[in-house]
Amino acid sequence: MSELINSMQSVLELAGGSSGLTALYLAGLIALWNQKFRGEQQNGYLFWYGTITLFIVINPLFLMLVSVFLPELTTDYMMLWILPVVPVILITGVNAFPFQRTKKERTIFLAAFFAVMILAGTMAYTRNHNKIIENAEYIPDSELEMILKVEEYRQKNGMETVLLWAPQDIMKYARVYSGNIYLLYGKDLWMGSMDSQMHQIYEEWQREAYIYMENAPLYLQEITETASVRGCDVLILSREIFDMYQTELPEYLGDGQYVYDGAGKDYIIYVKDNDVYSTSDAAYGEWISL
């Protein structure tokens, strides 16, 4: 019994928000109940909708049925979103406003009402969820710098597409920037399947490639071989990981299949050696000065 009550309580907390919206929602339902008996039919409709939905969604049987037959609906507890939390709170709040007769009462009421709402959302103030964008492309600057270099390389060489292999921080943004940058594997390889209807079966070599790249200083030989076999045009290595392993960044990879082509704040870019643009004197001079 206590387990049942606990599960209902936790769902109710998630349904309305544990920091105040639940209380406001329940108070709103009671207020609607009161208004219902004043003969306002729409209030009765909303009251019954809010109440029945509440009893349905916090019902463990409903949760069980949803998790068995509609598993997608359990993503982020979406089945709870049918609760009319926002309209119930706002409609009762606004309906209560005319009951405040003097200007002072109205000001205090409004201040209290909005203060409760401001305090209700705990996630709205966390730094992780309020990261300011670094540029209009919604890609962090250091990653964008490298992606732009890849695009520049593609355009200067007159290539329609370019195959890139890089650390995951670049891979996850590359295709947000351009559809012309092809990747050895997608972010669903390391993040898991993102869409139950989208099926990509990654092969073993792709999984290995991911491990090689994320631990690049240990697998430079394998990285070069895989990149050559798979026809990668551009390779990017992270400075951070080489610093972590206290290893020097190579001037070229393998027997010179991939040569240094430029550097950014956090990354070094290598391109296929058979390219005119990549082996420019300017790039070599830049490497020497690194």
């Binding site: 979406m78 709870l80 209700a120 990261k131 919604y138 295709r175």
Partner: protein, 330 residues
């Protein structure tokens, strides 16, 4: 160019909605409802073009051109047939500017500002990648959005029914102003589309406000207060990553967000229109809303909540009807 997109979408939706209302002989003069119905029609038309194209592995550019032609035809038809109604609708509509209205505008700008300045939550999302992939390959759901290469297995038919990311790709193609005004997929998806979604959400709650507060001179302040509250709760209300308020502000481009912030509240409103106001033309809108859920997201996340909400509303209506019957018998 891309900054005009929300206005363009609302305008074209309004024209299409006017046409539908004319066909259904629905004379109610509500601009937000006309826009919403037009939006659903716009998405439904897109879906009807995309599905055969997927089957035929047709070029995306061809689908886009046909769709543009259809939109243009709708545009001309609505001007020809609905001009009088639209004029009447705009004549009766009035904008009352007060301190509360200004606060409401300020709060809306604050919400739009969040889309402009803050990083969205794209951790498990492929929307912008799908837009880029579709435009680059000129194929529909044939290539993996995360790699660019063809799928090892692919997307199921159920997954292919969701054509919203392709609609974004169409919009990107339409609003790419060349070198002078480039339209970046991220800008369109993470910045412009959430503003459009937010406007639609405000329109639905505008209809709710009409029902609960009326549309009179005395109720204007209450309606404005309701919208101010909506802005507050959108900005400050996110209590968990699992809440619609979080989705509204951080993942406004996702189909689920549009379903739960626009379509589900609109379904409740439509059920009220059918059961409470006996406005039976709304049944057609209800059907359109139901089908639109499939276009926006997986049917388990879109259509099933719609069915659950419709079922609950029908139960309430049946309860009222039963009570009336018992009263009559007594």
């Amino acid at each position: 160019m891309v900054w005009f997109l929300p206005a363009f979408l609302l305008f074209i939706s309004y024209l299409m909605g006017s046409l539908i209302k004319k066909l259904l002989r629905d004379s109610e003069q509500k601009i937000p409802e006309t826009v919403l119905i037009g939006t659903f029609l716009m998405l439904l038309l897109w879906e009807f073009l995309v599905l055969p194209a997927i089957k035929l592995i047709a070029s995306f550019a061809v689908v886009s051109r046909i769709y543009s032609g259809l939109l243009l035809a709708m545009f001309i038809l609505s001007f020809i047939f609905c001009y009088k109604e639209m004029r009447k609708q705009w004549k009766t509509a009035s904008i009352h500017v007060s301190g509360l209205t200004l606060a409401l505008i300020l709060l809306f700008l604050m919400q739009a500002g969040r889309f402009l300045m803050l990083m969205p939550d794209v951790s498990d999302d492929f929307t912008a990648e799908t837009v880029n992939t579709t435009l680059q390959s000129d194929l529909i759901y044939e290539n993996h959005p995360g790699m660019g290469d063809t799928f090892a297995y692919g997307i199921t038919f159920r997954g292919k029914l969701v054509s919203l990311p392709l609609f974004y790709a169409y919009l990107k193609e339409l609003f790419s102003g060349g070198e002078l005004f480039p339209c970046h997929a991220a800008v369109l998806v993470y910045r412009i589309i959430p503003i459009w979604g937010l406007l639609l959400s405000y329109m639905v709650y505008g209809l709710w406000a009409d029902v609960f507060f009326g549309n009179t001179d005395t109720s204007r302040d209450r309606v404005a207060l309701f919208f101010i509250g909506l802005g507050f709760i959108n900005i400050f209300g996110a209590y968990s990553e699992d809440s619609i308020l979080y989705y509204q502000m951080h993942r406004g481009f996702r189909g689920e967000t549009i379903v739960f912030a626009v379509l589900i509240p609109y379904t409740i409103y439509l059920c009220w229109q059918v059961y409470g106001n006996k406005k039976y033309a709304s049944i057609i809108y209800l059907i359109m809303t139901g089908i639109t859920t499939i276009i926006l997201t997986d049917y388990q996340k879109g259509l099933m909540p719609f069915v659950i909400v419709f079922f609950i509303c029908s139960m309430i209506a049946a309860g009222y009807w039963l009570r009336r019957c018992l009263h009559c018998r007594n």
